[in-house]
Structures are given as structure tokens and as C-alpha cells.
Symmetry: C2
Subunit: 501 residues, 2 copies
């Protein structure tokens, strides 16, 4: 059986190698590739993707997994070997359950749909994108049906990004969160508006980039195993546990853009850099889920990076970088500016408090659409109503409403958004657990020390890679199921003080 396991390991490593190089080709496309390289690159990505898929769906992998079934049962569930078999089986079944004709048809549709969406956005007209979106909904339903036995039709789709999560877990959690957030947003937005003028001056790109790098190095992002480049949209990408890169973008007229996206992506990257090095080349060397990944980017970006303690240490340094702009701005003014809460239309621009309402709305719409309770043509109207109800504002057009996110238009309907809010919920939960073990974390942070927090996260989350699901990680850390309470306590405490609620 050791030999069979070794064979399986070799096969998954080969696939892992191909996927890593695919990622590299994608990274290059987003960073340095000249425009003339696009056409051939698309073909090269397709070729490599096809070969990787062929390797993953090789019946020999199915046979090995079958041969290892009894052996797996004898292994402790939390052993690395059992984890490797389990995660490989999950990947394999996801890959073989779907007919390849369906995949190529759906890919083609996604690519068309994406281009039509760009046109629709330009023309600010949902109707342009609607027919494709209706087809996408059809494809999404079909995709779910390749995994029979689900409780809710969205479950197999959610499982792609958040393995083990289901509608029955998420729906009540999000409903409760929404119930508590709507009045909190109302209470905050009744207070006088905060000024963020101090972060809206002109801040030269190179200085912003240098300061951002200084910050994330201090947080613990290892630049010997990573680097930062500029892209249109920031992302984190991994080529191996020794090479986990991030990208950022800079707005010279808004200091927050690069700074917080840099910390956000560094949070993702520190997670990957913290995975057990022995998992290298296997599917265990990956984040547990979209939600757990987002919990780390949001924890570092918001709970740490937008905290008063963090800026106690970093603000004098930032002032030295921008003496003309910030020299006479006091810490409190700056702290309020970077934590300004407001009713806004665009999810990606939203603050910590309102953000989840944007996400929960999209999650609910996905369920409504999949269940057939909402028709695609009625989406813009539903969007307006829900925004009014939850955030008290209505988008004046489709561009700032239903057309704003690319997810549904380039991917599928179902499972696209829950990770963002699961991430926030988990960030609060994990941070509270870390504080319980190490009450000294906040005072360390005020001195610019982040080692205790990072080590706790590494020990309890990072090093395990994808061995445990989000639910299992929470269970191991808190002894119970996922709950929104720690996150809500965090929000109420921070914003209660900020807005004198």
C-alpha cells in the first residue's frame, strides 16, 4: 500500500507541477506580458490546462484511490496520508463526474459571456448581458446535477470553493448576521459623517509601494519566498511553497487603495507560506477553502491593519514618508479616515461594516436564482429593492448595480460569494481564539511585533494546508461550530467606540 500511495503521490505532484506553471503563465499575463503575447498565451494556457486535466482524470488515479480505500480507513483521519488520499479523491471526483463535452461547452460560454459582460458594462445595460446570464444559470444547475444526492442545489457549487460548507450551514448564519448588521449600519450612518480627506491627497506611487513593502515584511511576509508586482487587479498566486507572490495597484489620490490591498494579499500569502513544507507538490499544500483564505486576508487587512494599535506603531513611520501630507494630521483623524463607514453601491469599495451586506445579498440571490424563485430578468429590480432595504440606497443604473461584479458573468451562479463573508466571520472567530491563548497580542502589535499572532495562526491554521475543512479547523480551535458572535463582538466594540454608539 505504501507503494500505491507513492504512485499516487507522484501523479499528484506531476499535476501540481503543471498547475503551478499554469499559474506562472497567468501571473506573467497579468504583470509583464506584452500585448502581442496574448493570443498565443491563451492557446498555451489551454494546452497546458487540457494536459493537466487529462492527467487528473487518468483512470489510473481512480484505480489507485480505489486500491487505497481500505488502507485509508485504517489511517487516523488527521494523518497526512489520509489527508492526501481524501483531498486527491475530492479533486478526482470533481474532475471525472463532469463530461468533458460539458466542460468545453461551458468554458466557451463563460468566455463569451465575459466579453458580453464587458460590453454590457460599457453600455450600462443589463439587458445586453441577460441572455448569457440565463444560459449561465442553466449551466450552473446542470453542473450541480452532476453531483447527485445534494441537499440544496447550490451545495455542490459552494463545495468548489468552500469544501464541506452547505446552504443549511451558511443560510442561517448569514440571516442572523444580516439581522444584526442592518441596524448597526443604520446606527452608524445616523452619526455625523467622518472626513477621509487626509488619505485623499496626492501620494507618489514609489513611496506608497516602499511603505507597503515595509509593512508586510514586518507582518511576516517572507520576500525570499515571494515578491510584489503591479497589476490591474491585485491578487495572490502561488507557484510553490517557496514562491508565493502578491500583486497590488496604486491610486496616487487615495492612500488606502495600495496599502490595504497590499496587506490583504500579504495575508493570503502568509497563509500559503505557512503551510507545512512537507506538503510541497501535493494538493495538501493549499488553503483549506475560500472562506478560510479570506479570513486570513481580512484578519491582517482589517483586524490588524485597521486597528489603532497597529497604527500606534506605523503611523509615525508613515508620517515620515509623507511629511507634507500627513505631518500635521493626528493619529486619531487618520484612524477614523481609514475606518470610515458609509452606505455605498460598490462591494469592493465597501467598508468593514457594510461589506457583508453586499455579499449576503449576492449569496441570497444565487440561491433564489438556482431555486427558481427569482428570474434572471427580475434581478436588477430585486437588486435595487434589496439595496434599499439593507443599505438604504439604490443604484441609479446597472453598472453600479447588478453588473458590477464579474463573478456570475465569467464563472457560474452559485458558490461565488459566500467565501468573502465566511472569511470575515472566521477572521473574528480566529482572532478571538488567538487572543484567548495570547492576551499579549494587542500590546505586541503596538510595538510593531506580530510574531505571536502569526505563530498562533501558523500553528492552528496555516500549517495544515487543506487537510482540514473550515468547519474542522473551527472545531479544533474553539471546540464548537462556526458562529458569528466573535466577529460581531469585534465589530460592535471597534465601531461602537469609533462612532460613540
Amino acid at each position: 500500500m505504501k507503494e500505491k500511495l507513492e504512485q499516487l503521490r507522484r501523479r499528484v505532484q506531476e499535476i501540481n507541477d503543471l498547475e503551478s506553471i499554469l499559474s506562472l503563465a497567468f501571473w506573467d499575463q497579468a504583470t509583464y506580458m506584452p500585448s502581442g503575447g496574448g493570443e498565443a498565451r491563451a492557446r498555451q494556457l489551454a494546452t497546458l490546462g487540457r494536459i493537466s486535466h487529462e492527467k487528473l482524470t487518468d483512470p489510473a488515479i481512480g484505480q489507485l484511490l480505489e486500491d487505497l480505500r481500505e488502507y485509508e480507513k485504517e489511517l487516523p483521519a488527521d494523518s497526512d496520508e489520509a489527508g492526501l488520499i481524501r483531498i486527491t479523491r475530492r479533486m478526482y471526483e470533481k474532475a471525472v463526474n463532469i463530461p468533458s463535452d460539458f466542460i468545453s461547452e461551458f468554458y466557451k460560454h463563460q468566455s463569451d459571456s465575459y466579453h458580453v459582460w464587458m460590453k454590457a458594462r460599457e453600455e450600462n445595460d443589463f439587458e445586453v448581458a441577460r441572455p448569457n446570464l440565463e444560459k449561465t444559470l442553466e449551466y450552473s444547475r446542470q453542473l450541480a446535477d452532476f453531483f447527485p444526492g445534494y441537499e440544496h442545489i447550490a451545495d455542490p457549487l459552494i463545495d468548489y470553493r468552500d469544501p464541506g460548507m452547505t446552504v443549511s450551514v451558511i443560510r442561517p448564519l448569514f440571516a442572523e448576521l444580516r439581522k444584526q448588521l442592518v441596524p448597526l449600519v443604520e446606527a452608524i450612518t445616523e452619526k455625523p459623517e467622518v472626513s477621509d480627506a487626509c488619505v485623499r491627497q496626492t501620494f507618489p506611487q514609489d513611496k506608497q509601494l516602499a511603505f507597503g513593502l515595509e509593512v508586510i515584511k514586518r507582518l511576516g511576509y517572507d520576500l525570499d519566498r515571494g515578491r510584489q508586482d503591479l497589476t490591474a487587479h491585485p491578487f495572490m498566486i502561488k507557484f510553490s511553497l517557496g514562491d508565493v507572490r502578491i500583486t497590488t495597484r496604486v491610486k496616487e489620490d487615495d492612500l488606502r487603495e495600495a496599502l490595504f490591498s497590499t496587506i490583504h494579499e500579504a495575508g493570503h500569502a502568509m497563509y500559503e507560506q505557512g503551510i507545512n513544507r512537507e506538503y510541497e507538490g501535493t494538493p495538501l499544500a493549499d488553503g483549506a477553502s475560500s472562506g478560510v483564505h479570506e479570513s486570513q486576508s481580512r484578519l491582517w487587512e482589517n483586524i490588524v491593519g485597521r486597528s489603532r494599535g497597529f497604527w500606534n506603531y506605523f503611523y509615525p513611520r508613515l508620517q515620515k514618508v509623507f511629511p507634507g501630507e500627513l505631518g500635521s494630521v493626528d493619529l486619531d483623524t487618520f484612524y477614523r479616515a481609514i475606518n470610515k463607514v458609509e452606505r455605498s453601491l460598490i462591494r469592493t469599495d465597501a467598508d468593514e461594516v457594510t461589506y457583508n451586506l453586499h455579499v449576503i445579498m449576492r449569496f441570497d440571490f444565487e440561491l433564489d436564482l438556482l431555486e427558481g424563485r427569482l428570474a434572471v430578468r427580475d434581478l436588477p429590480e430585486a437588486w435595487r429593492e434589496r439595496m434599499k432595504a439593507d443599505l438604504g440606497i439604490e443604484p441609479p443604473d446597472d453598472k453600479t448595480g447588478v453588473l458590477q461584479d464579474m463573478h456570475w458573468y465569467q464563472d457560474m451562479i452559485g458558490g461565488m460569494f459566500q467565501g468573502y463573508t465566511l472569511g470575515n466571520v472566521l477572521s473574528g472567530l480566529f482572532y478571538e481564539a488567538a487572543l484567548k491563548d495570547h492576551p499579549e497580542i494587542p500590546s505586541e502589535m503596538e510595538r510593531g511585533e506580530f510574531g505571536t499572532l502569526r505563530r498562533w495562526l501558523t500553528e492552528n491554521i496555516y500549517r495544515h494546508g487543506s487537510k482540514y475543512t473550515a468547519g474542522e479547523l473551527v472545531e479544533r480551535v474553539t471546540g464548537g461550530p462556526m458562529t458569528i458572535e466573535p466577529y460581531m463582538r469585534y465589530l460592535r466594540s471597534k465601531y461602537g467606540e469609533l462612532y460613540e454608539l
Copy 2:
């Protein structure tokens, strides 16, 4: 048969896609990869290389080539279809003739040998590298023997880089060249030494890079289909005909380093960018040979980039970039500095006139070693003697002698060097032919116009990719065989005037 040809095309395109992405992974390793990425990257490169090799040696390709044999005979030899079949057959036979055990053993040895060479260089001791080099010689002989029927044992090895070239063609050409170069070097070095102090001041990196880019854009390097990055050793690399990149390095205390290596690599890149776009994704979309490739880098670097006409246009611009350093240096002083001839030990630092003597010596040693007329252990002594005879100086140690080039230590013995001098010879030959068709080229150059020359090269060389061998290209251009005379006329005329011979 059209269908078989289409199948063949699809298969070579798949291999081409894999090889392109392999190149990208190599480029990234040399430019931006953090040090921590090295270990996994090596494995990923090996995996992708193995898969590409498996695809190339798939018996189905052999069968298709067999099926197409009669069809190919009916095609005009200069048709693209015939070219595609011919070049694919060449690749295929090279790949299948060698047992895979031999390949992996030889690769392993090459990698070991390279590391030992680095150590030997550090310790300045050939004896450290000798045992590995002796094995390399053995492997090189075995490799040649997988291609029986050769006239000279070096022929199959030369064929890797310079298809169609043989010892019987190169040896007399190089012997004659040496006979003419040795006295030319003697005559020049008897003259008073030229001062190159003006290019040895301090020139900031960013200004050097900006000026270099301005120059190669003007020459015709298309930055929409290319880019330039920094590496330890400059190179040109292609990911598709729409993405042909170059790298450079800068010495702030020597203006020549970045400038001429930039033009050199841009020469390689313009060749690739000029290949018929219809060849994209096939083995035709490649340079004809190492020699023809080098003819283009050297033509643009030396015949164009070190000419007086070129600097008539560019020198006032360069002076504007470095007014403090060059403002009071006249064009003639600068022109002499960048064309300074001297007896020197290191091939890569050598000037236009002495360079070929370094190369011919190495070529001759490869033949001597392969023929068994020279033992590896006697190489350092032979090196010293030959340097004395041809260049009038002797290396004081191994580092500046037999250990200076990595070729033999990381690759094989045989076929490693002829391309450099073939390139020089061809650069003279092609340039003279271009002048015959377009006598206006030099006066255009003085105005900073390079279009006529570039179009002539594209029409006669670039667009054909690898369809014709070097010999066929020469035959098509001049109606005769390769000859050193145009190149020697060029050297004698330029350096005769410069050194008043």
C-alpha cells in the same frame, strides 16, 4: 493527406506550447523568481520537459511522418508544408534516436558537472573539473554515435545548433579566417593603444536603460511584442512570435556593456519577430541555426551599432543623456573607444577583430578532443600555447583560460562554438548583399533610419524562420556557397581606416 498534415500540425503545436511555457518558466527564474522558488521550479521544469519529450517521441508522430513521406516528395521543397514536415522529422529523429536512459544519465552528469565547474572556477583549478570533463567527452562521443553515418564525429553534434553544417564545410572556412585574422590583429596591436576612458566613467543605470530602449525601438524592435528586463547574463527568449523578450545587464562604470548587449539581443529578437506569423506554433517559427541567429545579433550590434554612420545620428542624443560625461568628448574619440582592438584573455570581452580567434581555437579543440588527438588533461597547456600563437598573450591561470566558458561544463564537447564565428562571417555576407540591393542603407543609417535594412533582412532571412538552412539562405541570397570574403572586406575596411593600416 491534408488530414494527416493537420494532425501533425496539432501535435507539433501542442509541443510548441509546452516548450514556450517551459521558456517562460526559465525566463521567470532568471528575472523575477525569489530565491525560495528555486527548488520547486527545478522540479516543475523537469516535469514539463519530460512531458514535452514524451509528446515529441510519441510513435504516432513517427507514423504520421511515415505516412506523409510520399506526399512530402510531391511538394515543392521550398513550400511551407514541406518545410514543416522536414523540420518536424529532424526534431523527431533527434529525439527518438537517443535512448531515454542515456538522456537522463547525461542530464544528471551535465548538472553535476556544471556545479563542479563553478567550484573549479572559484578555486581557479582545472583539475577539479577535469574528471567530469573527461566523462563529458565520453558522453559527447556516445551521443554522436546515436547518429551513425556521419563523416566527422563532430557533425551530429554541430547539427544540433547549426543544422546542415559539417566539419568539412567549417574547418577550411575557419582555417582561412584564422590565417587572415592573426596578421590583422598583429598589425593593429602594433599601432598606438586607443583610449577608451570616455566610456569608462560613471553612467547611472536608469539612464543607460532608457537610452538603450530608445535605440532598439528605433532599430525596429517591437515593444508591443517584446520587453526588456535585467538578468545576470543577457539573453533573448521567445514565448510566441508575439512575445519575444530580451534581457540585459548594466555596468555603471562601462557604457558599452548594456548598450551593445541590448542591441545584440534586440538583433536576435528582431529576427524572431520578423518570422512569418503563419508559422506561429510550429517548428518553422524559429531561427534557422545558431550561426544565422548570431549573424543577426552581430550585424545589428557591430556592423550597424558600432559604425560611424549609426553614431552620427545617435551620438548627439547620447551626449544629451550624459552631458557631464560626454558633452566635451567628440564623436571620433567615442567611435574609437567603442571599437578598440586589444589582445585579451576573455572571449566574451573580446572586440570584433580578435573575437573569432577565441572561437576558432575552441572549435579546433572540440575537434581535437573528439578525434582523440588531444587529451582533456592536456587542454590547459594547449590553450596557453594557442593563445600565445594566435593572440600573443597567455592566460596566467585556468579561470582566465580553459575554465572561462561554461559550454563544455554544462553541455557537451562538440558544436558549442562554431555558431559565434559563423554568425560573424554571415553578418558580413548578408550585409554586403543588402548593400548591393540597397546602396542607400548607409546614408539612411546616418539619419537614424533602419527600415530598408530591416525590410531586406526580413524578406531574405527573418520571414523564412527555420525553413531553410544557413547554407540554403546564403545560396538564395548570393547564388553561391558561404565565404569569408565579405566579412574580411568589412573588417579590413573599417579597421584599416580606424588604425591607419
